[in-house]
Symmetry: C2
């Protein structure tokens, strides 16, 4: 299959839906809505929404039914980036080559835009206009909220922050950071797509294995890119992890072993998809792409 | 009825439930969970949860069924206070006589504790352990998320922030701030209690009128207290609104007219409850109490 074309098409659909779901930048308070939109449309690759759509398709569901949840997931991802970039956190001036939210809108509005995007996600997930079985939708809300909360993404962010600059970070801590900070939302994306698509218990478990494997592979690949990529390719400073004294897979287990581990995880992900037919081709292609990408 | 005793009993029940629902302070990351608990148990009056319980009782529902939603509401209220107090926002060092979250845990953890409390609310609202009709529960999630989002509380906070220090704030703007920043959550609390209690359409509308009236009365009373209360009674600096150049009802329409308006709103709230029997006594007593309280 042509993954590039698939990703392009899905990204467009996601962007159109986000455009529709987000309050207009002209709606008051316009600074807030402008700030929310600024970061949502700052060139994200829509990895999580695409995974949700692809997981839904893999079990034979209609991608239309998951679009609101897919957009909700992208809003949560975006809020986490806005808050991560704040002066009190990573203090980043640029993200994907553009000034970060607080550099453009100020710190207070950036904090509130993040808060509002997180909240907007749950507005979308519980919205009346959507179809779908109410019990399944509650399950999706639970899945996403747990993944985003103190036992998921936020917990991972706290441990990441507390580990920065320390030289005694071990593999268990690094693994906690990755499975929580980035892995949790990827897992919730795939599982939510599966739930909304009507997955069987067997399919749900297989997709969970797939998600956990690619979530970690994705993060290891990110760590490798930070060592090997160029600043131009990444849209942020290459080598920034090292400069910050961040624990990474290459730092803890070496570059070659990290590459081998990422490759192994891709294979685990592909094996998990063995029970699926051709409708899982996009998920297969995404797994292989993760370790080949340049940014 | 003995409102003081009623409030005391309900507060205890809410506190016990919050204790049960929040992750333990010893659970990792303990800085995060400690920070979340610090602000949740910092002496809040549990106004919103009590209103939700009382509204549910007024329509004949069981208060047990709304306890998770009531606690979710208190978590959202608490997150909003943590973020409001941040240096980039109101930059407050004290809240209810105690150091603010970021003074104790640092700015980064305070931001993340707020994020996690907001998310925890939706974990609770969508949790499996709860009973209740799934469609009604989705409606409650929608109600609460809309009230907390950019068209509700966060929107009100942005306009409040942008109005600070300006001397041309008119009644329309002040009204927008109050109905959004504090009114929205009070309305959602009452309406969510009504939904979970199985309110009829007529009861739901009456309770909405009640909520809107007491929400505004509550805010006007707050403005009046800031002028008339003592620092000791308030647990924060008296006269702080004026010192900050904040628009208030007393500043815009005078102290006596503000008191008359608050009294009028209490009467509107009581009139809205005319269709209810004795089970609405707590709601009636709360309405009258709002303009009499000293803190």
């Amino acid at each position: 299959m042509d993954l590039k074309e698939y990703l392009k098409q899905k990204c467009q659909l996601v962007d159109q839906a986000l455009e529709r779901f987000l309050p207009a930048a002209t709606e008051l308070p316009s600074s807030l809505h402008g700030s929310m939109r600024y970061s949502v449309f700052a060139g994200g690759k829509r990895v999580r929404p695409v995974l949700m759509l692809a997981a839904c398709e893999a079990v034979g569901g209609s991608p239309d039914a998951v679009m609101p949840a897919a957009c909700a997931m992208e809003m949560i991802h975006t809020y986490s980036l806005i808050h991560d970039d704040l002066p009190a956190m990573d203090n980043d001036d640029f993200r994907r080559g553009n000034p970060t939210n607080h550099k453009v809108y100020g710190e207070a509005t950036a904090i509130l835009a993040g808060d509002a995007l997180l909240t907007e996600a749950f507005i979308l997930l519980s919205g009346e206009g959507q179809g779908g079985d109410p019990a399944a939708r509650l399950r999706v809300i639970q899945e996403i909220a747990v993944a985003a909360g103190s036992r998921g993404m936020v917990g991972g962010q706290v441990v990441d922050m507390e580990s920065e600059g320390r030289h005694d970070v071990d593999m268990a801590t690094l693994s906690y950071i990755h499975t929580h900070k980035t892995g949790a939302l990827i897992r919730a994306s795939v599982r939510s797509g599966a739930i909304m698509g009507g997955a069987s218990e067997e399919q749900f478990k297989a997709l969970t294995r797939y998600a956990d494997a690619i979530g970690l592979a994705f993060q290891i690949a990110d760590d490798i890119l930070d060592v090997e990529g160029t600043t131009e390719e990444l849209g942020k400073d290459a080598g920034s992890d090292q400069a910050r004294g961040k624990a990474t897979y290459p730092a803890l287990m070496g570059l070659e072993a990290s590459k081998a581990r990422a490759q192994e995880l891709v294979q685990i992900a592909l094996d998990a998809l063995a029970i699926f037919d051709d409708r899982a081709e996009p998920l297969r292609a995404i797994a292989s792409y993760i370790v080949k990408r340049k940014s």
